[in-house]
Amino acid sequence: MLQETADGLYCPAGDFYIDPWGSVARALITHAHGDHARSGSAAYLCAEPCAPLLRRRFGSEALVETRAYGEPISLGSTRVSFHPAGHVLGSAQIRIEGPDGVWVISGDYKRAPDPTCPAFEPIPCDTFITESTFGLPIFYWDPGAFLIGEILAWWDANRQSGRASLLFCYTLGKAQRILAELARLTDRRVLVHGAMISMIDAYRDAGIQMLATAPLIELARGTSCAGELILAPLMARGTPWMRRLGEFSDAFASGTMRIRGVRRQRNVDRGFVLSDHADWPALLQTVRDVGATRVLTTHGHPEPLARYLATQGLESGVIRTAWEGEAAEQGD
């Protein structure tokens, strides 16, 4: 059903690519992160709530067609539909029904609840292509509500000692999830880096309830940042933008923070293990839920996950893609 080509995963029966890294005639997009949604293709097809994010990324002239979640479309000899993946706003799994049975490409996904997007729906299939960003039995996530509580406690402690709280996170997905989850616990305003604004606006346009935000640079001159929470992408680190902050504690919200050595490499005070990807038990649960007889793994730790699934009696394999999981989202 799918071929690995230089431009990406190609479906000859439907004449389309999925999240291609080259420029192609028709690209089906699982979600708007940079490693999955690349500009330069002639026509795009994605789930409805994903389209505004793609347009912000590619510009309004890009040709973007949409389908509602679950609504099928015929492409060549295949029937294709998008289903919620629970990763970020607009994220989708892609179901392809064709001559080789039913295939589902997971895109990036998580099983934990997220107020900014509908939950992952397990779609029965014969072949399941799963991401494996955190495909090792060292990755177990605490509940999101608990982690958000930790973030709030860190912010409160910094407020008490008169410091700013600088939280690094991805500009698409993680930032909005934090703002939406925090809105259940507090109504304080949050300052953001300029690179965050566009995607936060897109989420607000989509009706997602989040804490009020203001760009840090619009803060009146001489106003102290003590006690404020500031969200910024990692790329803002070490730039002159940081001078405005005064004394601060910094943290990074990412599944990679699960590993102490990685957190120490980042040299941040705190690492919050808050991820938008499936952890090890969620990957295994999902494979069981979809009931596929064949599972292909891609990006992150595909080899160990595929080998493990083989020991569980499943046909499994690895497919090479240019998708990178969390590594690519850092610049987003």
Partner: protein, 527 residues
Amino acid sequence: MRRFTELFAALDQTTSTNEKVAAMARYFATASPADAAWAVFFLTGRRLKRLLPWAAIGEWTRHVTGLESWMLEECWSVVGDGAETAALILDQLPTIGADALPLAAWLEDRVLTLRRLDENAQRERVIAWLGELDRDERLVLLKILSGELRLGVSQTLVVRAVAQTAGLPTATIAARLMGDWPTTAAWFSTLVSPETTNTDLSRPYPFYLAAPLQDALSTLGDVHDWLVEWKWDGIRAQLIRRAGDVHLWSRGEELITHRFPEIVAAASRLPDGTVLDGEVLAFRDDRPLPFSALQQRIGRQKQVHQMAREVPVVFMTYDVIEADGRDLREAPLEARRQTLESLIATAGVLRVSPARVADTWEELAEMRSSSRQRNVEGLMLKRLDSRYGVGRKRGDWWKWKIDPHTIDAVLIYAQPGSGKRASLLTDYTFGLWHDGELVPIAKAYSGLSNEEIAEIDRWIRRHTRERFGPVRHVEPVQVFELGFEGLAPSSRHRSGIAVRFPRMLRWRKDKPAAEADTLDTLRRLLP
């Protein structure tokens, strides 16, 4: 364990040294002396040696989770730390109850008793204990058990924190923390006691260290203000003669007395109350042997006396820190040197590192260029009026080392680093050409900037030919200039040569792999 784990977490969660000191001082102020003694033990980087066979923890993790060993290896290569890997995997185990046992009780009544048990009993105990602990406590326990517990603070910071707690000068605490001490409540009480105590007579002074010379010689002023000596290539050590006994301490604060009986015999003729600073050197026919000769002496602990005949050693003394039981550290080097020469008159096993006399810096530079033929590492420059300080301070003592040997080698294998470099491919194996093949000659980990590490990491991931567990065989493309201090013939290396302190000096992006050096080039550098 709870409070100690909180200390571990507090040290882990800040990059500010002041906050680290404050966290330790808070712990010392409220912990019982018995707990504080163990905390100092771990904070100063000491570990419980030979507690468990190193593979045991991995086996138990498999036993509990049913995971296979290849999966553990995959995990380990991503986490970069054995105990942490086990702690992360065992996160599935539920925590039952809360731990209220103090640190000292954990160690003395539990951890240390493991040595007396067989492996089944050890496993049962440890798994039961893990069930009592939360995630962070488990990590600390597993790190203690595997001998890997590091708290990321320097000795200086620990000294500052203890000094703050005790209200005593840092120099006092630094001296009291040297050498061996028991992890008891009584010892900790003595450590923070304002009274001058009858300190352990075997205890060395903190070493004074030279900084590498980086500035121009002209910044050092008149050459006659300096004592110049060879920089010996042996083991820096303090030789202590007190109360009829002799103790020899390496700079790593390891007691090495029993390895060198001839030094002990010679030192027994020194007057009581003498502490000398010098270098243990393999030495024959009036000249030092290469460091590799001394390594044979260190390596073989059993046949000490036979080895003493094969590889004779001397103690090359360059300073006297205590004479007649008096601490001489505040006296100028010139005066200490006179005392030293009056103590050691002959040139036997104990000898005085000779002063190299020169009237100009140029003469010294000339002298330094003969270092390699003499099996020395270069020159030491010490200001004649310098006191004997503590630690590495720039200004009065300089080491002026010769440039390392260099060779251009090709990257052939890479594997992930550990600790702070977890998940990054930072540990490399390099090869040199021989009969159209690349023969591995050295492993190197250091010398690259973080940006270069990130760049080479990305390159390796895209150019891996094969994977053997965590080790990646990469395309032979990247050339690095390696520096190393010395080399010796070796039957244990496929190349037939062992190199010392290999590190990367430069990434030779300009050089194609085919033009890297050959094994023959390296052979020609053999002494």
